[in-house]
Amino acid sequence: MSSHSTSRNGLNVTIDDVGVRFGERAQGMQALSGCSLEAEAGSFTVIIGPNGCGKSTLLRLVAGLLPPTSGRITVDGSEPRPGDERVGLAFQQPRLVPWRSTLDNVALPLELAGVPGAERRVRASEALDRVGLAAAASLRPGELSGGMAQRAALARALIGDPPVLLLDEPFSALDALTRETFNDELQRLWLERPRTVVLVTHSVTEAVALADRVVVMAPRPGRVARVIEVDLPRPRPAELTGQPLAVELVTEVRAALSEGHALELRSWAEQGGAA
């Protein structure tokens, strides 16, 4: 953990000309192509794009769960490995272990790292407290609401205090109102303890509300279409999305998204897809 002393504000994440191909040559699928992206230490990056643009693949690469077919991924200058303790990852689904209590689920990363039981429980309780789930410590995942389960998954991703936090649409299954609360909390957690955050989402307003930079991706093959800097003051309350500058940014992101989509439709028509 001593290496983290230099990373109080997160670590640089660099994605350099990365390509990912699934399957064999002929029937293979190019998930990502020529993808480059820099998430500076302590910055909040939001990746947005339509389905199939390789957003989740990109997060898996940074988490070290998938090696790139070409190009290079580095976290603080070195390639991430599976289970890299510098990186915390929260999936689209909570992925809690059903027979463990919420507390034991949150403590799981510590248990895998060989942290003794008593210390584990103390730290897991603190982590649950931070996401407002202290009362649910002894409940099983089946007894939690969707929102509570996602909070628990977030607490699990944060318990090792990783300098890099990856969030793969963690709030996509929640209703709009719960989602807004979550975004506020996520922002608060990040302001309290800055780290490099990369969040994947489908929601344009969510992207503008949270991001320092919005990375718009285009599909087939997945690539970075545009990067839009969001220069809005923090903390950003939910009402902020109604202000002129925010509205302008939302419009800009939306335009970049549909541009990528139109390009795709055009190439599909050119390939004779319309026939």
Partner: protein, 246 residues
């Protein structure tokens, strides 16, 4: 309470039908003794100590055979479930061994393992092995791939994954195999005793049936086996409920 009441009632009905059959059919005792005759014979067998003498041996065989067989089966099942290569290499032998009738194999195993308690435990373990190994393999294979990836993202080692995810998630299926296995253990013990033993309930059946023409005593031995099977099955169910209470 209601469940116990229902079970007691079904037992009473069963005994009544049996009794009625002996009365209406007018069968001699050496073909179908009445429940009262069997009960009286059981009382005498308990009194002379002959029933316990044979039951104790069979119980020991069942317990040792089941524990040995189930342990080997769960470990093998984990290996089969985790490695496609191991499954490809081992499963033909396991299936072939299962397809050979244990009744035919028992005398040979009896010779190989010295004809004593060890031989009978081996035979019992062998018959228990297959359903538990297969259940374990299927259970390990059916683990949620999303949870497997989650553990991988947390840097879990292969043994950690087995201990913390695969085995716990396979437990309900493994217990399905244990339920089948424990009843087979009773059959295994009797088959093993028939292959060569001087005591045990299987031996008692042979003595009563062929030596003494004492059909009521044979029924006593059969009823004892049935009760042992029910008791062990119930024990497995109780352990299962305790472990899977969530």
């Amino acid at each position: 309470m209601r469940r116990i009441g229902a079970a007691a009632l079904s037992l009473v009905v069963f005994l009544a039908v049996w009794n009625l059959a002996t009365i209406l059919g007018g069968y001699p005792e050496y073909i179908l003794p009445a429940p009262s005759v069997v009960g009286e014979r059981a009382w005498r067998a308990i009194g002379t100590g002959i029933l316990w003498e044979h039951t104790a041996v069979t119980l020991l065989e069942i317990v040792l055979g089941f524990v040995a067989g189930a342990t080997a089966a769960v470990l093998t099942g984990i290996a089969l479930g985790k490695s496609v290569l191991i499954e490809k290499v081992l499963s033909p032998y396991i299936v072939a061994a299962q397809a050979v009738p244990i009744l035919a194999l028992a005398p040979l195993l009896d010779i190989w393992f010295g004809g004593g308690l060890l031989a009978r435990v081996v035979i019992c373990a062998l018959i228990v092995f297959f359903p538990i190994a297969i259940a374990t393999m299927v259970g390990i294979r059916s683990v949620d791939p999303l949870l497997t990836e989650m553990l991988r993202s947390l840097g879990a080692t292969n043994p950690q994954r087995t201990r913390l995810l695969e085995v716990p998630s396979a437990l309900p299926v493994i217990f399905g195999g244990l339920r089948v296995g424990v009843t087979l253990a009773v059959i295994g013990a009797v088959v093993a005793e028939w292959a060569g033993a001087s005591t045990g309930l299987g031996v008692l059946i042979n003595i009563a049936n062929q030596g003494l023409f004492d059909t009521p005593l044979m029924f006593v031995a059969l009823a004892t086996l049935a009760i042992i099977g029910l008791a062990f099955y119930g024990l497995v169910v109780i352990v299962e409920r305790g472990l899977l209470s969530h």
